[in-house]
Subunit: 339 residues, 4 copies
């Protein structure tokens, strides 16, 4: 039996969710809700069978709606998700989950009380390439992880209410949180700049210090001439380059690295360098959003926690808050206190 | 009349200088000096006509030696350059000029007293691509510069006495100092990590804040699976991507950017996006070191200041010192006081 | 007033046409026709408002259908297009127009008698990059064209009824026919091989000789490990590289070439080499099929000839026939007699 | 004991041979011979210890010269190599071995009579990447080879006496001859064009038909805006892409292909497609010429046949002759009769 769905918000990202909920065998898209009439007209043209409204109340009045997907501006996420949970429906919220960690905390508690699914749209956790990287990491072949370095830049839309960390770096933080699940981040130093006066920062560099000599770095930028989506992950034994724009070999695993040996006699360290073959695991086909929509439906049916649950959303929002604060302090580190 | 030259130090970089001084029409390579006998054997095999020694004194005793090039480990630069200047010879010192700004200051004063050329081997200032970028910038076509972002990573030799800022970022800082000659850097925030216990940092991220809303960022890394040498420069009107590894189009100038207009009536900013043609200026052929060697000879002959003079070396060393201090403070900013 | 459309055939390519006819403001997609019930089920799911049938007669009985698009296997094109034209409707036929030039000739005559649009789906003629190249060529900046070289390879579906010339090279021949409109092809030499016994050739190399020292070459291959879509066009003054898979600079115009001068005194030719800047014209956004669908609608409304009309289809089919014959003769040239 | 060497010809390629013979531990470069005085001046500047002359006789008078390397224009190879062999010295001749297969045949016979090494400078046989490909092929992992496709284009020097097959395609033919050592080529079809009136063809396409459904194709071009050096090799099980300009992964082995199964019941072939991981074997460091020079020295010392012996030179020259003849016939096939 398929799960009844409504999508709230049809601006930039919403139509992708609409399409995937419409096409999935596991979900029945019953409603699309938006305040802008033109957007609903476009939905009607493509999906004449879907009901349209500009009132969330009307959606909540339909008992066949099991889960609601919120794809509105981030400052509205909290109020809408709260309303949905209080109406005893499951909710999937576009990233970032809320515009403050305090609000995320409230939603987590509410979802727990109501025994409902609270899921955040950390899309890349459902991307087959990121899944494949997680498998490589979990296999242990990289050895102990040394660093994570991600670049996500292009000439992108300047957001008015949030800085580039909330809009772009959120993806890398979510990927990082998913891939590095067994080490604890402890502090963040970030720098950034707002090139349009009075607007939020349009470019940012964020370093996240982990326990035990691991470091992560993210470069997020709305004002770059080229589109780059590249992540390096280096372990003690092997290293990964993940280029999401590469058409054929998106993931390359290099048998490269250094070996450190302690020469007792010589009382010095010897560092030797290894450079071997490279291996590019096949990335299974499939669209991230399709996988995500299936996962949401499954969580609703089985009552299980989402991979990108409220806690994942909380950790990411707390890191963005720390990063934004560090930017104000021109890089001075901000301690993290993650759950 | 050609200028008499000696090269001191024949380890990793010295042989490149030896080759260029040997091949240049403007210089006569008279001596190569090194403490390691095997290195001198290699020089003898290729350049039987060059005199060899392990004593700088012997070189300084040759009245036909006008200029001496120091290509030894950086902690020895100061003492050797001082000895050369005190013997009233011109000196070209491998980067970094010294391992502290205080020593650089002393060399600058000494060179001034002795009226001798003090030049630092900031090789990229003599690279035809960097020269071409400077021309593009000086033409004004980019508009006001907004940021400089440079990545210089590969699986490189771990240095024992200096961190990766002294070894790799020094190139980007020298390029940045050369290209952005009309704006003033005011503070640096940097983060980094040493993956080999007891050794200096092998990867670092450095943000340099300039006056008037300009920011520069450098990623330097000895422990990366791939070699990247890429610099982005964005102006208000156009943007540059410089990829030093690109065989054909090393410099791309994009007619891309944003236009900000103030809608008085609406009391809000309108940001519009432009995306036009791309233009790749031809980079003239020629090796950087060849140009540099010619420049050193010319400065000796004419008594003119080198493009990469002591002051350039001083500014770069001061920025590395500030960066290294900020790394110790996990990103807390360090003010710059550049001459 | 929008033009009434039916699409016949919903296998591999048909759904793309369906989507574009559905989304275009200029057309009203009234019918989709296919013999395979499952395909119609998929159409119903996405486009519930479109009427479905497995009988062309039913489509032709609808007076509001102005134009019919045939996207069935190529051996059925002739009979279906004939039926459509005889029912006095305009027709757009997937490439290749027919599986023989004789049949194409008949369709051309029939379309003329009935005063109907006969258009072939040479998609790349509506691709913004190919349009931009045509503009560069027509501007004269390349000088006299010297050669056209195109590579179109990937691991593609092996067709059972036609060789790779009919399936892949047809695109390059259509592009070539469009771009080189002022020179006349005179003969073709082609080689190829069928790696699956009893099946048509899955890879082919085709050289087309033009009058006046111009040559074109096409490599088409269904059995390649990587996807390549690259075309070189060299003129006497400048040269173009068109890489359809390149995300940002799809077209590069190089100010490169040779200059031949006749040294009377020396009684020999001097060839000098030029290498200057490179320029990448911005390719306007837009999907080829969207442009094509608009063009079909416009031709129906205005009665004008299509850019890819029956004659274009005829020239391309004749070249494929000559190429296929030459393949049988292991490269022996076959003269062309194009209209 | 090192082998005494002379190099005859110091134009474009000779200096590379000079450098490698000079630097090798196994050879003693005793003489460089050229008719152009300026070239000898350059040699003297870099290698003051080497004796210079413009008379081959002087070289042959030195009893310590064991082997002579001919790097002169190809029409002079035969006479010079003959003179060397008749003086009972070993000879290494730049590619192509001679400008006709008849002359090659004579040299082979002469070398046999005199029991001397006759080696041709098929450089790529000593290239570590080509060696690595040969190992992959010999391992059988590709399955039965289906095709070889090579592109070698750039803006290169127009030769006056020979067409582009003799100058560029010779490399690919030598590689092909080396890699495909267990299948027999039977005919060649080639097309080409001379864009400068009265000069030899500056671009050519060559198809080589092998026994048993294997085909090879080479595109050689002096008039291309970009430099391409890419070879595809497809087997029944796996496929190789070799890009000699790729800095890091020069060889990629794709676990891709088709599987053909014969469905007896259905009386039709089923073709299924495989697409798996990609593997990039590490290419050992080392310069081809360095390996080649060592091999020549070893053949001289041991009296063994060179890998690129006279017979290899003969096969390649016969293929070039067949290709050139086919070009005259606009692609009509020319049978091969290889030894």
């Amino acid at each position: 039996m398929s799960v009844g769905i409504a999508v709230v918000g049809c601006g930039y990202w919403g139509p992708n969710l609409v399409r995937n909920f419409w096409e999935s065998e596991e979900t029945e898209l019953r409603w699309v809700c938006d305040l802008v009439p033109d957007r609903l007209v476009n939905i009607r043209k493509r999906y004449p069978a879907v009901q349209l409204t500009n009132r969330l109340e009307e959606v909540l009045a339909d008992p066949k709606v099991d889960g609601i997907c919120i794809a509105t501006p981030s400052h509205t996420h909290f109020a809408l998700a709260k309303q949905v949970l209080e109406a005893d429906r499951h909710v999937l919220v576009e990233k970032p989950l809320c515009d403050s960690s305090e609000k995320v905390q409230q939603l987590i508690e509410l979802a727990e009380q109501r025994q409902k699914v609270l899921m955040v749209d950390h899309t890349f956790l459902y991307n087959p390439a990121v899944r494949a990287i997680r498998e490589v990491l979990d296999s242990g072949r990289l050895g102990k992880l040394l660093y994570f370095d991600s670049t996500r830049v292009n000439l992108g839309l300047f957001q008015r209410d949030v800085n580039v960390l909330w809009d772009l770096a959120v993806h890398d933080l979510a990927i990082m949180d998913y891939l590095i699940h067994d080490r604890k981040p402890v502090a963040i130093s970030a720098t950034g700049i707002a090139h349009v006066s009075g607007q939020p920062e349009n470019m940012a560099y964020l370093t996240c210090f982990y326990e035990d000599n691991l470091v992560a770095h993210i470069h997020a930028n709305w004002l770059a001439p080229v589109k780059l989506r590249r992540t390096l992950l280096s372990g003690e034994k092997q290293m990964i380059v993940y280029d999401d724009l590469e058409p054929s070999e998106r993931i390359k695993v290099y048998d490269k690295g250094i070996t450190v040996s302690d020469e007792k006699e010589l009382r010095k360290l010897l560092i030797s360098y290894r450079s071997g073959d490279c291996w590019c695991p096949k990335v299974p086909p499939g669209e991230a959003l399709e996988n995500e929509v299936l996962h949401f439906a499954e969580c609703i049916r089985t009552g299980s926690k989402a991979l990108s649950d409220g806690m994942a959303g909380l950790r990411v929002v707390k890191m963005i808050e720390a990063g934004s604060l560090s930017i104000q302090r021109r890089g001075a580190p901000v301690e993290l206190d993650l759950p």
